[in-house]
Symmetry: C3
């Protein structure tokens, strides 16, 4: 398999720029695909994204401040609205239409703040990932997290579409015995654009954290489902139901259900913004169930960060060297194929636009 | 306007290498235009500048020490005089004339230590900037400062030939209300090689720091004059006189006068040594007036450093992108033209020398 | 003399990878010639060296752990034996022969752990440097040290084959008066592949540290012998015998004898692992004599590290500039010739292998 240290970006796609709730009155500065961007809310509270560079003398707008719903540059006081148009220049009555900065399409929906990093004319809200659980706050109380990881974004897809690593990387958290992790049925299926990996552990004893979180009667039928939605999201559904209730035939019955959302927004070729969220569908009247689930996963994800960052360094050291595949890599290999398809489509699109 | 992140050096010119008083018995190591240099005083107290690299094994001479007016290398003990000639080699009676290091022309004058970074044969003391105020210690008591700024030296010229930024960058120090800063008469004039910017604020109330520093009767006529002397110096004269005394016709009358000297000696393409000095011409019997003026400006210049350094990063990110001009940029635009003229002259000179 | 900031590596040679005693139950990660390597002991206690990169997903094996004498990768649990062969893959009964990582020949001998960095087929134990004193623990009690130096490995050879620097770099430790250091007989001789430098200081007063270490009667005959063994080792024998005992004719008689071993294993072009050891042949029943000798040299070597690192920076700044030779550089010049011969031989060897 080819080395994956520098997987290129898919530009014409929606990416998580921030969690909606994290964008308040202050400007957020964030680099996405090597582009320095500011996120802010205009006078109507509408989210906006502009390049973080004043068109006048190049100062970062993130060093400025909000004035009447516009960003005021901290160097000479030029003001820009959410469309990137300069609305005021100190000492001038008229403002030249040349004074503007690049604006990025953004959509705020289902607790996400999505940004489009490709050609703005192609920004189609119909292509937004649908994640209805965040809106169902009564049925799926959720908690969101964010940190940076110093690795190519594709490392995160590899990591999530692979269950073998749980026994080794997460030995002290969610992992446990290697054989239990490895020797179970894995189902890998193609989806519309991506891949779905499902693992069933039927008639198995609930692991300690499951027993602590939910009142099982005895053994359980347990599954983990991971949907890779290209380019950079993975939607996870983990569930466990008391044995004898036909879980395999019908998963939508009471039990210990939780959903994890993962997305890897590229910062540079060798780093990404990791947005993750947990949502539980049990003990709905106990906020601490939501907190516990988040906390446990947060610790686990920091273990992933650690291994991905050293892996990235090794792959960078010689990007020409290939990698070997093992049996449990099937979903990972399919996911990479799906990603490569999307990269090719995106590059073809960019070329056809350039040719116009 | 073209991006200014990497304005090239003018080599054949005098630059401030240090304040005279800062060069004592110890060697000063300083990088100028990417060249590692040591400054020291020889046995007669005469200032000298040599490359900071022993010709024997390449060790930095700045790691050595002064012995009888020569620099002794800290590795093998070779000694060099102020002309860069090796005068002693341990274990040898004779010293080969090959043993020498590059020396730079230096001139000590008016509290400055000037260095010539171009062809030594062209080092003409007639081209030294004249700043007589430092010698008039009774009439213009002064105080000198120095720090490094991580930006191309031209950012400092931009910054000083522009008054709009005062209201935003120096809002909490000397800035104050944007409209007061912007809506006043600006006069931009060409000088011999450079540009002069004068701003008049007539019949205006003295700002708090002026009132604190000087006993005005009521409103004042106030001016700021900024002379850009290419390649890298700006000479500033700020004054304020009680209204009704004809300040516009005659500025040389009692009032609150002070002069600021600014010079940006390039360290690398993206950093410079900022030499600055304040001199007051009021309350001449009160040394604290001198200290206060210096302190206030020092704080202000650190605000400039902060914005210039983030501006530089943004401009470096894509040096091919141009910048837009606003009305108040006139002096800045003229100053850049003057600088570009000097760069062209210098490059033509270097080519004609190379062709000889 | 040419600049030596980037002397290339001699690949087909044995290098000190570690002191034998430093490799215990834990994996040691060490970069040698830009290659990331792990050192460990297999189930039989036999030392092994593998590349520090799992062939599966590129994770560093040094982040894993020892399991039954094999290294278990910390990401997905693949296990590798001392030959680099994968012996276990979680979730698989059979292991593909493609699953392997590069192994380096290693030999453990005379307290050294040697590694061969060239073609494994050429790894000839007959070419190992012989240093019998480490095995003679009764007669030559020794102590070993290690640190990294940020300079090309050849800087260390220069440093050791030159005695002039003692007076300047080690002024406060073993150096002392420059004239005493310089004005003594130096004998430079070619050896089989290298160079030997001997300095005699006959009928001279013992320096303070010698007097402290040994009970001399009065003046002494003192020598220092430095054998450069290419590519990167220097074997030093320093001794002092009471005057009148014919030291020059017969050095193998009682006195204050000590031996120093120095080796510079390249880490990168601009850094090396410095392995050094001291061994004394006096006050054999006093362990503190061994400790004192080690401590004094350790402090001295840190002074060398300091000067070599700044020297390297200056040489890197412009590798095209040459260096000048002084009289006391004779041994250094001969040593460089010997090194260059070995580099040429090695490169010819590599080319002939590539052509096969």
């Amino acid at each position: 398999m080819t080395n994956s240290a520098f997987e290129p970006f898919v530009r014409n796609a929606w990416y998580v720029a921030a969690w909606s709730a994290d964008l308040g009155e202050d400007i957020i500065a964030r680099t996405i695909m090597n582009e320095d961007i500011i996120l802010f809310r205009d006078g109507d509270g509408k989210a906006a994204a502009l390049e973080d560079r004043c068109c006048h003398r190049g100062a970062p707008l993130s060093q400025g401040r909000m004035v009447d719903g516009c960003v005021q540059c901290g160097y000479h006081g030029l003001e820009f609205n959410g469309a990137g148009v300069c609305t005021k220049v100190p000492g001038q009555d008229k403002v030249s239409p040349n004074l503007k900065v690049n604006a990025y399409p953004v959509v705020e929906r289902q607790h996400f703040l999505w940004i489009w990093m490709g050609n703005p004319a192609l920004a189609d809200e119909g292509k937004l990932l649908d994640y209805p659980y965040f809106d169902q706050t009564d049925q799926w109380p959720s908690k969101k997290g964010y940190f940076e990881i110093a690795a190519n974004y594709a490392m995160m897809i590899d990591n999530l579409m692979d269950l073998t690593h749980l026994a080794f990387v997460h030995e002290k958290t969610i992992g446990g015995d290697p054989d239990t992790q490895v020797n179970h049925e894995l189902i890998v299926e193609k989806t519309d654009k991506g891949v779905k990996l499902t693992r069933w552990m039927e008639n198995s004893p609930p692991p300690p954290t499951f027993r602590k979180a939910y009142n099982f009667q005895g053994k359980i039928d347990r599954w983990g489902e991971f949907k890779y939605v290209p380019p950079v999201s993975v939607i996870q559904w983990t569930g466990a139901i008391d044995v004898g209730n036909g879980a395999r035939q019908n998963r939508d019955q009471p039990g210990m259900h939780f959903r994890l959302f993962h997305s890897a927004t590229p910062k540079t070729e060798t780093s990404f913004h990791y947005f993750y969220a947990t949502a539980n569908h049990y003990r709905l009247d106990e906020p601490e169930a939501t907190d516990e689930l988040f906390h446990e996963n947060h610790i686990t994800f920091l273990e992933d960060k650690e291994i991905m960052e050293v892996q990235q360094k090794r792959l960078e050291a010689d990007p020409t060297r290939s990698l070997e595949i093992i049996k449990s890599d099937e979903a990972l290999v399919q996911a990479r194929k799906a990603l490569h398809n999307m990269i090719e489509e995106d590059q073809a699109l960019s070329q056809s636009i350039a040719a116009e």
